[in-house]
Structure formats: structure tokens, C-alpha cells
Amino acid sequence: MKKIWAITVLTLRAAVRFRLVWVLGLLLVGSVVLLPLLIKDDGTARGFTQILLTYTLSAITGLLGISTLWLACGVLARDIEESQIQMVVVKPVSRWQIWLGKWLGIVILNAVLLALSGVSVYGLLLYRAQKLPPNEQAILRNEVLVARNSLKEPTVDFAPFVEERLQKLLKENPTAQVDVAQLRRQLTEQFKASEQIVDTGQARRWQIDLGFRKLTLKDQPLFVRTKFIAAQTNASGTYPIFWEIGPTNGLRQPFRMSLAPETFHEFVIAPNLFDDKGVLTIDMLNYNETALLFTLEDGLEVLYREGGFGLNFARGLGIIFCWLALMTTLGLTAGSFLSFPVAAFLSIGFLIVGSSSSVLSQTLEEGSIMGVNHDTGVADKKSAVDYVALPVFAGLLKVVNLVQDFSPVEALSSGRSITWGVLGLAVVQIVFLMGGVIAAIGMVVFSRRELAAAQSNS
């Protein structure tokens, strides 16, 4: 441990003495203080936090991420190129210890810088919140600077219904020439649409089971968060909607509001509107001239307060820290067998693949990397390349999602709770699983390679 620590201290010293820490620290603080000044918010609590948290946290993540990668690629590769590593590996210290020591050094550096900028963001947030108008401050306290969790309708599995319908159709038309797979897809879409679309003059009911939370949520305000898509645009750009929320057999709270489509709306509802079983019933009436569509994914959810903002913020930073630790691992592993510039190139390549998960998943949905039939949204037939590419993409996406499935910045800026469970999952998936595999590759490669060149190279 002493040996590992010696190398960790050496790495930290290098960062400090090469003035990297100071430059980075300045950049970080600059991005925290200056960026929000440059960008105007709309004066509302939500807009204000959105900008402050989204931009500063994204800037910090980006800045630290790139510098971490750069540092991690260099810290080992440089030592090998400049031969100092020869002085170290001839001492009684295992190569994995050297590797781990360097990793720890960069990770500790990251932790310090991240904590520093985190504290700055938090302080700035509280300071600037004082300047908001009082009613906005109340919103800030209740809706934004909190950690809220959300509940949705249970997801419905359409597969049995689709199958039943499909068999029925096939039985009724035994002679029809149909592509069964295509028919099944169409039926699925039909079922989905019936759940999502609310036609003119129709109503839609959501029943959300609070379960055991009905005890803790007693007398607590709840928030409805909703987003819809309109089939046709109207002149005003907003759509009147009538809501009625409360137990079916008791006192209900009505809302009449005019909302814009394709954006999230949030409104607070009175406490204790759920029934004895803890089921909250929300009815919605569409009296527009056009149909509205509430997607199953984010059409409607109920938010409730779960905890304070401070801890939540810390947990969010924790997830960002997991990402940074992974980038350290990636950079060090690349630097274990490549020269510094090539290692940097490779790991940036990985980063790009990692951030293109939406392209990957879209390709998988379409079923081909080639063109798509625009009527159906899927490819008509697969090409030869697809048979190779699609499984590779599917695998890649699974790996990438291990890391990408967390969105701490978005959660924090919308006052969502990041639970300890989520943080724990992030540590396991990002640091141990993904990072562990990459680190193992790096350590093995570093342990096996020759560390001197034919000629001295300085």
C-alpha cells in the first residue's frame, strides 16, 4: 500500500508542479461563475436553475472529462516514453501497483477538483436564488431545490393482446398472404396508439398506485408533470385541457388550463387526493378540435418530494465522479500500450462511440444501417452488412448504456431525486463492471510489455 501511495503522491505532485491543477481549477471556477453570467435566464425559478445547473455542471463534466482523459493518457505513456518508468519497475513494486497508484492519483485529483467546483455551483445557486422574486423563491424551494421521485402508470405488456388479435385475424382470413412479423408490428403500434391517443371530446384516465408511500405522502403536495403532442397545430399554439384529480367517489380537484404541446408542464395538486388504497386517479378531458397524444414514456407522471437538495446534489456529483473514474481507467489503459498521442486519439474515439448511443439505438429500431422505408419507419429488407452490424451495435449499445443510463445533470436541474440506489448502481456498473474490465486489460498489458527500447530514446 505504501508503494502504491508513493506513486499516487508522485502523480499528484506532477499535476501540481506542472501547474495543471491551477489552470484547471481556474477554468472550472471560471465556468461556474462566468457562464451563468453570460447566459440570460427567463427570471423564473425553473429557468434559472435549469441554466445554472445544466450549463455549469455540463461544463464541469466536459472540462474535467477531457482533461482527465488527457492526463490519464499521458501519465503512464509519458513515463514510458521518457524512460522514467525504468527506474520504477526495477524496484520491488509490481506493475499493477504502479498502474493502480497512477489511477488513484488522477482519481483523487478529480475528486478534489469536482468537489471544489461542486461547492462553487452550490454556493452560487443559493446566492443567486436570493435575488429571485419571493413567489419564485417559493417555487424554487418546493419544486426545484428538492429531490423528487416520480411515479407512472404501470407499463402494459401488449404482447399477449397482440398475439390474441393476430391469431384471430389469421383464423378469420386463412387465405390472405401476409407478412406475419409486419402484421404483428402494426398491431403493436395500434394497441400503443389506443393507449396514447386521446381524441377530440374524449377523456383519458391515469391511475397511479402510490403503494406504501401513501403513508409518507400524507399531507404532502404532489406534482403532476405532463407532456403531449398535438395532431394538428392551432392558431394560438396552446390547447385547453380539463383535468380532474382525486378519488372517484370523493372530493376531486379540477384544473382548467391551456398548455403548449411538446414541452413539459408541471403543476402542484392538493395533498391527500389519493383514495384509501393509495391510488391517485387523474382524469383528463380533451375538448380541442384535434387529437392529443400522451406518450407512454413521458406523457404523465406524478412527482413527490423525497429528500433535500444538498444530498441529492452530492449524489449527482457522485455519478459524474464515476464517469471521470471510468475515463481515467480508459486513458490509463490506452496509455499502457500506446504512445501518448495515439492513446489520446483512441480514447477520444471511444468517447465519441459512447456518446452516440442514440444513433445506435435508432439503427437497431430501424433494423438496418441502410435506408429506411419512410412509411413504416423500418427497413424493408436487411442487407448483408446488417447481419454483422446489428448484433455488434446491439452489443455496443448494451455496453454504452451501462454508462449512459444515468443522467445526473438533467435530474438535478429538474429537481429529480438521485437515490442512493442509483448512485450505488452507477458505482457498480461504471466503476466496477465497465472500469474493472478496462483496468484489468490495462494492467495485464502493462505487466507483460517490455519497458525499455532497443536504444535509449532521450
Partner: protein
């Protein structure tokens, strides 16, 4: 020799077996460097066999690019052999624990430029798991020994090459190693530094440490090595003790103080009976430039000249000396330069090498008896020889003081 065992508590010391125990065994060692596509590019070391025995100073000699450094790097596990077998203390060179018994100075001082000399030694001490107290003590002694005690807080990136070399040497000794591998240890050092390094090597050898010295500077090797191998083109061209390799058994040299003319004539007449006139050579032994230079510097130091560079010549670190009890009275005056003259006078620790030339070897009467037959070289015309020598000395003196002034 083994007095110091107790100090280096953390270093495994199993090296107390038989004196002929092999520290290193190399068999059929071959290294072929390959290009990117795996095609052989250069055969740097080609089927080499040798062993290094405990307590000897072993020299790897050869011109540049002959495979010395490649061999050294394979001994240290920095390069892996293409073929063949290496054992260091009965283990593979890649065995981690064995490395606690090895000290290594690479051919260039690959130091972390942002650390100062104290931190550098502390860092390497940590890698040997030395306790903090011991690290501090050894660092201080080593820095004193290599003459960098006064520049401890300067970052080594700012050091001159020679000063970096000194730090490199210090870090190689922080663990009180049983085996010291020095790759071109005197490269970049001034003559005083060279002499100190050589004295250090001899001091280590006296304590039963094994030293491997790779060099193309023949004087270095000749001064300190017991046994050498000579490399050329990756192959061993010659191997043996210096005595075996260098002795010229058909020549004898007798050295005396200046003799009266008539004694000289008598001696010569005696010799001419056995040997033809043209085979007798008479001259003054000259000291070599190194010992002369050291004399000049020593005089300068006694007159207290200031220098901003490495303050030359600390004494060998106490924990490395190991003979402090025996030479207790000497310890105070044991500056390396002074010890040099002592060593020259006779403390040649059981091997034939010694600072050559200058102080003439003492004549042993037994040896004389054994050598009755071969001829002797008396000195004719001592007065004639004296004059040019003084002139030479003055010239050299001038040159050296110019050199010193320029440097400092």
C-alpha cells in the same frame, strides 16, 4: 565485511552462502529486436553465457551498440529475452521481491524532473518500503556522499547532467543493495566524480556486494573490475579476470628512488650480461592524468576555493560503508580523495586492480626472488629525466586550472 547487516533490516540478506555462489547466471541469452510486423530487425545479443559470482566486480565491456545495455536491461526484466535463460539470485529477472536486493543506475538518469533531490530519494525509498526514519537518514547520507547535500531543495530538472548522474547513483543505493548494476556510471561526471564512483564501487565490493559495471570507458573498468566480458556485435569475444587478460609475463619492471650514477651503471652492467642492450628500457614512471588532476583539485580545496556546483566528494554513506567499527579512527578523515591514496598504497582488497601508474607498486622481496631470471630496468641519467617532467607538470597544471576556472 558483513558488519552492516543489521542496518538494512528490510532488505532480505540471504547472500551469506558460499563465496562462489552465483548471483547471476546467464545461459544462451539471445535478444532479437523485431519491427512492427514481427520481422527480425537486429540481433542485439547473440547466444551469450556468463555468470557473476557473489562479491565480484564484473565488467561488461564493448563498443557502443555491442549489446551491453540490452544485456543489462534483460537482467533487470526491462526487456525480455528472445531465447535463453537468466537467473538473478536464483529467480527470474521479473520476480518482484528479488528486486529489493538490486540497485540500478541506467545509462541516463531518468529522473522525475519536478521532484527535488530529497523527494526523489524519498520516493524510491518508499518503493522499497523503507520506514520514514530510515529513508530520511539514508537520503541525507547519500546526498552528502554524492556531494549534493547543499542543493537538496532544487528540482532535479534544473540539475546539470553530472549532478543528475549523482542523484541517479544515490537512488541506486538507497536500499543498500546486494547487487548493484551500473550502466555507464561515470558518463557525464567530472574526474573527481569518476574517481568517487570508482572508490564507491571498491567500497561496495569490500563489503561483499556484487557489482556489474557496463562501460566503454576502459580506464573505469580497469580500475575496479575483477572480471570482464568483452562484447562485440552482441557476442562475447573475451572473458576472464583482468590479470589473465592483461598480464604480459615476459616483461618485468622495477621501480626505485633515484640511484647514484655508479650504482645504476653496476645494475645495468649486471643486466646486460643476460639481455641484449636494445631490450632494456629506462624511464621515469609518469603519473596518469587522472591522479594528477585529483592532486591539483585537492590542493585547491585545501586552499578553500568556492564552487557553486556539486560539492565534490562526500564520504561514502555510513550505511553503505559498513566498516565504521573497524576503521573507526579513520571515519573522521575518510574523505574519498584521501582514501584514494590509502587504497593506492596497499588496500587493494584482494584483487589485482588498483589506480594504475602514479604511486609505484611496492616491491616485495619475495616477488623479487621469484623473478630472479627476468631482467630489470634500472634508471639511467635520472637528472636528465627530471627536467622535462617539471615542465610537463607545469603545463598540465595550467591547463587544469584553466579548465576548473572555466567550469565553475
Amino acid at each position: 565485511m558483513a558488519l552492516l547487516e543489521s542496518i538494512s533490516g528490510s532488505v532480505p540478506k540471504s547472500a551469506t552462502a558460499s563465496p562462489n555462489e552465483n548471483v547471476i547466471v546467464v545461459r544462451g541469452l539471445t535478444k532479437v529486436f523485431k519491427d512492427f510486423w514481427g520481422r527480425p530487425k537486429a540481433r542485439a545479443v547473440d547466444n551469450v553465457d556468463f555468470e557473476v559470482r557473489r562479491g565480484e566486480v564484473f565488467g561488461l565491456l564493448g563498443p557502443n551498440g555491442s549489446g551491453k545495455s540490452t544485456t543489462v536491461k534483460m537482467l533487470l526484466g526491462l526487456l525480455y529475452p528472445t531465447k535463453g535463460h537468466i537467473e538473478v539470485f536464483n529467480h527470474s529477472p521479473r520476480h518482484v521481491a528479488t528486486k529489493s536486493r538490486i540497485g540500478y543506475l541506467p545509462e541516463e538518469s531518468y529522473l522525475y524532473r519536478y521532484l527535488n533531490s530529497g523527494e526523489t530519494l524519498d520516493f524510491f525509498g518508499n518503493l522499497f518500503d523503507l520506514p520514514a526514519k530510515e529513508r530520511a537518514k539514508r537520503s541525507e547520507q547519500l546526498l552528502e556522499m554524492v556531494g549534493l547535500g547543499s542543493v537538496q531543495s532544487r528540482v532535479v530538472g534544473e540539475f546539470s547532467k553530472g549532478m543528475q548522474r549523482r542523484i541517479g547513483l544515490a537512488q541506486a543505493l538507497i536500499n543498500d543493495p546486494d547487487l548493484v548494476i551500473l550502466d555507464e556510471p561515470t558518463a557525464g561526471l567530472d574526474p573527481i566524480g569518476c574517481r568517487e564512483v570508482k572508490d564507491l564501487i571498491l567500497a561496495l565490493a569490500r563489503r561483499g556486494k556484487t557489482v556489474i559495471l557496463s562501460s566503454h570507458l576502459l580506464a573505469d573498468v580497469e580500475d575496479v573490475c575483477d572480471r570482464v566480458v568483452i562484447y562485440y556485435g552482441g557476442k562475447i569475444q573475451a572473458m576472464g579476470t583482468l590479470k589473465e587478460l592483461l598480464a604480459t609475463p615476459d616483461v618485468v619492471r622495477i621501480t626505485t628512488p633515484p640511484l647514484p650514477r655508479e650504482s645504476m651503471e653496476r645494475v645495468l652492467a649486471l643486466i646486460r650480461k643476460d639481455v641484449a642492450e636494445e631490450k632494456i628500457r629506462i624511464d621515469n614512471p609518469t603519473q596518469n592524468l587522472e591522479s594528477y588532476f585529483l592532486g591539483v583539485v585537492q590542493r585547491a580545496r585545501q586552499s578553500d576555493a568556492a564552487t557553486s556546483g556539486a560539492t565534490s566528494g562526500g564520504r561514502v554513506a555510513e550505511y553503505l560503508r559498513g566498516d565504521e567499527n573497524v576503521e573507526g579512527s579513520l571515519a573522521g578523515t575518510n574523505r574519498v580523495l584521501e582514501r584514494l591514496t590509502l587504497t593506492g598504497a596497499g588496500a587493494t582488497s584482494g584483487s589485482e586492480k588498483m589506480p594504475d601508474a602514479a604511486p609505484a607498486p611496492t616491491v616485495q622481496s619475495s616477488k623479487l626472488e621469484a623473478l630472479t631470471k627476468p631482467l630489470e630496468k634500472p634508471e639511467a641519467q635520472p637528472n636528465q629525466a627530471e627536467a622535462p617532467k617539471v615542465e610537463d607538470l607545469e603545463k598540465a597544471n595550467q591547463k587544469l586550472s584553466d579548465l576548473l576556472n572555466k567550469k565553475k
